[in-house]
């Protein structure tokens, strides 16, 4: 029975080290420091762009537009984030969102537009129900592969990503699905000043945040991500935790898919394919540790807001051109790398690596 290498290191660091005040504060606030930093960034971005384009940026209309756009990716980022907390990752979440949207669209389009208003409303409910159910199934499938078969999450979700795309392709036969009636109200309308999708996003964030911080499942998720072996030995049902996590990701994908669908009236299979990078980036920006074990939903919410400010602000600065999208892509890449650099040179991550986080999760 070999002893872990870390136990050797443990042997020579002096016992009962005195913690300096700075270290103490740093440790206690390690996750809070992310939240603070992000809040500062959000405020700075807001101020910056408002000064640059006072006519366009700080307007109600713009805020609403950003709120509409940020909601779907925000929900996806939360989904990916939760899977990352367990030390894994869900690369298939955007494909699931896409697939569930296609399912809902197909149901609606099959029912057709020639129905009475009450029937139309019922149709919407049925369609959304079907979509959620599909999301649940897909998520459970991911959970099965990761928790029961034991395939590394990167590979499992790489496979399911392709699989779900495949299913979507088959259903739509490569074509777009048109004719989605009456449903667009969710995607484009608002309660008072606040767009409905944004409300949904906040509600989802609130619920997931509460689950993570105050339920047994949430607690076990963090512990599992910190040390899967010790989790098992402590009686945590890893399979159940992983299953719930990936299923949650599937359900969140379905919600996001519903919102996406609500904004358009046609849906194709490759819609949102490039989103996965952005969602991962937002999760990492939001403080989710790719190796698992730490990160909070509030961080992800702030990160979404920051990205949305940045994206919209940049759009306003460089006049609308198709080039703007490409510039954004470059900017996301740059931003992600910068964030990583900064994060990885701070104490928290250095400690994680030194104490041997599995390091092999690759994320």
């Amino acid at each position: 029975m070999t002893r872990s290498r870390v136990q050797q290191q443990d042997a020579d660091t002096p016992q009962e080290t005195k913690i300096s005040p700075m270290q103490f504060i740093a440790r206690a606030m390690s996750s809070d420091s992310t939240v603070i930093r992000l809040s500062v960034i959000v405020v700075l971005l807001f101020i910056g762009f408002s000064i640059a384009r006072p006519d366009a940026f700080p307007t109600t209309r713009n805020m609403q537009s950003m709120a509409f756009q940020g909601s779907e990716i925000g929900i996806l980022a939360i989904g990916v984030g939760v899977t990352m907390l367990t030390g894994g990752i869900d690369l298939s979440i955007t494909a699931m969102a896409n697939l569930t949207a296609i399912v809902a669209a197909s149901v609606l389009s099959a029912i057709g537009t020639d129905v009475s208003p009450e029937q139309a409303q019922l149709a919407v409910v049925v369609a959304l129900g079907a979509a959620t159910f599909v999301g649940l199934l897909c998520g459970m499938f991911n959970g099965f592969l990761v928790a029961y078969v034991g395939i590394p999450p990167i590979l499992a979700t790489l496979g399911t990503l392709t699989l779900f795309q495949g299913i979507g392709t088959v259903i739509t036969e490569g074509q777009a699905v048109y004719g989605i009636p009456e449903y667009t109200f969710i995607g484009t309308s608002q309660i008072g000043v606040v767009p409905i999708p944004f409300i949904i996003f906040l509600v989802v964030a609130g619920i997931v945040g509460l689950i993570l911080s105050s339920t047994r499942y949430g607690f076990e998720t963090y512990m599992l991500g910190t040390n899967p072996v010790a989790a098992r030995f402590s009686g945590i049902n890893s399979r159940r935790v992983l299953m719930l996590t990936y299923t949650m990701s599937g359900v969140l994908a379905a919600i996001a898919g519903a919102i996406i669908l609500g904004r358009t009236n046609a849906i194709r299979i490759d819609f949102g394919q490039s989103y996965i990078l952005l969602t991962i980036m937002i999760a990492v920006l939001g403080g989710i540790n790719p190796m698992g074990g730490s990160g909070r939903v509030i961080g992800v919410v702030l990160a979404v807001i920051a990205i949305q400010f940045l994206s919209t602000g940049m759009n306003m600065m460089l006049f609308q051109s198709s080039g703007a999208n490409f510039f954004k892509e470059a900017a996301w890449g740059m931003l992600l790398l910068l964030v990583l650099l900064i994060d990885y040179t701070t104490v928290r991550y250095r400690n994680r690596r030194r104490l041997g986080g599995s390091g092999k999760t690759k994320a």
Partner: protein, 500 residues
């Protein structure tokens, strides 16, 4: 060419203001076999790292082969023939035996290309030198721990080692393998190589070492020929005080006449066979044997990690099936693992979180939510009752010393109040002060009605804590002892008897 291979004089080393080594001087001669003994935190690991150049001393001199090194670097030490074999051997599980042995030799020679014939040849020669035969093309992850160690040794020898330092080399070896290792060590000695063992196994220290060096609190407290020492003396110097040995007086519980746990013919193919025993409430049962005897596997089977294939387990008169950890937990069995850092603790999580991980469900409200103040309160109770030394339970558990970390693991299990608690190597890597405190905790638990199984290879620990001891050999129950009817020496002899 002097007789002195290595001489360090008056070495001082501090880490962030804390003294790790204070005025330590040491000489190692050619062809000597020495043992370095000390508790965790005594400075022995620091000393080793200074000798091999990984750390630099704050003050003091180092002479290797008569040459002084003001600022010793690893590459210098390696060139002078100092090789350290760490506990994890630094082998590559995915590469072959031949590669593991020969690659860094080729690297050291500055080769850019790989000649497989050379590699195999070099590896073969290295193995021959220590008289060992292993399949060159097998990947190392298929090798047993003992073989891995031999591979590590032959790799060290390839680099013309003059001093081989081995860190706790016999931890994972069976008695037979230990003897094989000692034979290899003797043959190295004949070739003029010096060996420095770091060990805490006092009986082995005496079996192989010619000279014993004891460090305590950063200072060298004894440097003498092995023959002049008794285990008692060694323990005294290691701890600085007479180790009061107490024993456990088993009092049958009022309601404890029926057995708490009863095992019949328990078998797991490849691990253990036909084991039967009883455990009553209030008893502390020791399980020991050499490595490979099945002692750990038995515990793993009772805890559901590697379940038994056949046999009966009866808890409080009810037959139960333990097929996985959840089953074991449901039957109120707890397990404090051997390797607490990877198996027992969540190093980056707070002390609080580590303690409550099993009992969170007790503080959930009707919606299934818990508050962090409840969590802290729950943890506080255990921090206090087990005397876990920390300034703030919100600090990560990695900030604690080994002894306190072990207490956290124990607290985690106590919080869920198991009926049966299994402890595997409960005081490994724990300083002697904490050790006796943990022993007292265990005794107290038993007095309060828990049934406890302690797995250990530390004979004094077993005789001090247990009231009965099971001796396993090659997966079978060899003998059972009642502690009050036996003494340490007899038990030790019994262990040696098994070797035949």
């Amino acid at each position: 060419m002097t007789e002195e291979l290595l001489k360090v004089v008056d070495i001082n080393k501090t880490f962030a203001g804390v003294w790790a080594l204070r005025g330590v001087s040491l000489t190692i001669n050619r062809g000597e076999i020495l043992c370095l003994v000390g508790e965790n935190g005594s400075g022995k690991s620091t000393l080793i790292k200074i000798i091999c150049g990984v750390y630099q001393q704050d003050s003091g001199e180092i002479y290797i082969n008569g040459k002084q090194y003001k600022n010793l670097q690893p590459i210098d030490a390696i060139r002078e023939g100092i090789q350290v074999i760490f506990q994890d051997f630094s082998l590559f599980p995915n590469l072959t035996v031949a590669e593991n042995i020969a690659l860094n030799h080729e690297l050291a020679r500055g080769k850019s290309f790989v000649n497989w014939r050379d590699i195999n040849e070099i590896a073969r020669q290295a193995l021959d030198r220590i008289g060992v035969d292993l399949p060159l093309n097998a990947t190392v992850d298929e090798m047993s721990v003992a073989n891995k160690q031999l591979i590590a040794i032959s790799r060290a020898m390839l680099l013309n080692a003059r001093l081989v330092i081995m860190d706790e080399p016999t931890t994972a070896l069976t008695q037979k393998e230990v003897e094989a290792l000692f034979r290899v060590v003797k043959s190295l000695q004949e070739a003029g190589v010096s060996i420095l063992f770091v060990s805490h196994k006092l009986n082995e220290v005496q079996a192989i070492a010619e000279r014993v060096i004891i460090v305590r609190n950063g200072s060298k407290v004894l440097d003498t020929a092995a023959g002049e020492l008794t285990q008692h003396k060694i323990a005294y110097y290691m701890t600085g005080h007479e180790v009061t040995s107490s024993t456990y007086d088993y009092q049958p519980q009022a309601n404890g006449q029926e057995s708490l746990l009863s095992v019949h013919n328990l078998t797991r193919t490849g691990s253990f066979e036909d084991i039967s025993f009883n455990l009553k409430a209030g008893e502390i049962l020791g399980v020991t044997g050499l490595l490979g005897s099945g002692r750990t596997e038995l515990a793993l089977a009772l805890f559901g990690i590697k379940p038994a294939d056949s046999g009966d387990i009866i808890i409080k008169g009810q037959p139960v099936r333990i097929r996985n950890i959840q089953d074991a937990i449901r039957h109120n069995i707890g397990y404090v693992p051997e390797d607490r850092l990877t198996e027992g603790l969540f190093l980056l999580q707070s002390i609080t979180n580590n303690i409550v991980v099993r009992t969170l469900k007790d503080i959930l409200n009707q919606f299934g939510l818990f508050s962090s103040s409840d969590k802290s309160k729950q943890a506080r109770r255990w921090v206090d009752s087990l005397h876990i030394k920390t300034s703030d339970p919100q600090l990560p558990v990695s900030s604690l010393s080994g002894g306190n970390q072990q207490r956290v693991v124990i607290a985690k299990w106590l919080a869920s109040m198991p009926h049966i608690l299994i402890l595997n190597g409960p005081t490994v890597g724990v300083d002697i002060g904490s050790k006796s405190e943990i022993h007292e905790v265990i005794r107290e638990l038993a007095r309060n009605g828990m049934g406890i199984i302690v797995i250990s290879d530390d004979i004094p620990e077993l005789t001090q804590v247990c009231n009965r001891i099971l001796l396993l050999r090659r997966g079978r129950l060899y003998e059972e002892f009642v502690v009050s009817e036996i003494d340490e020496v007899t038990l030790n002899n019994k262990l040696l008897e098994i070797v035949i």
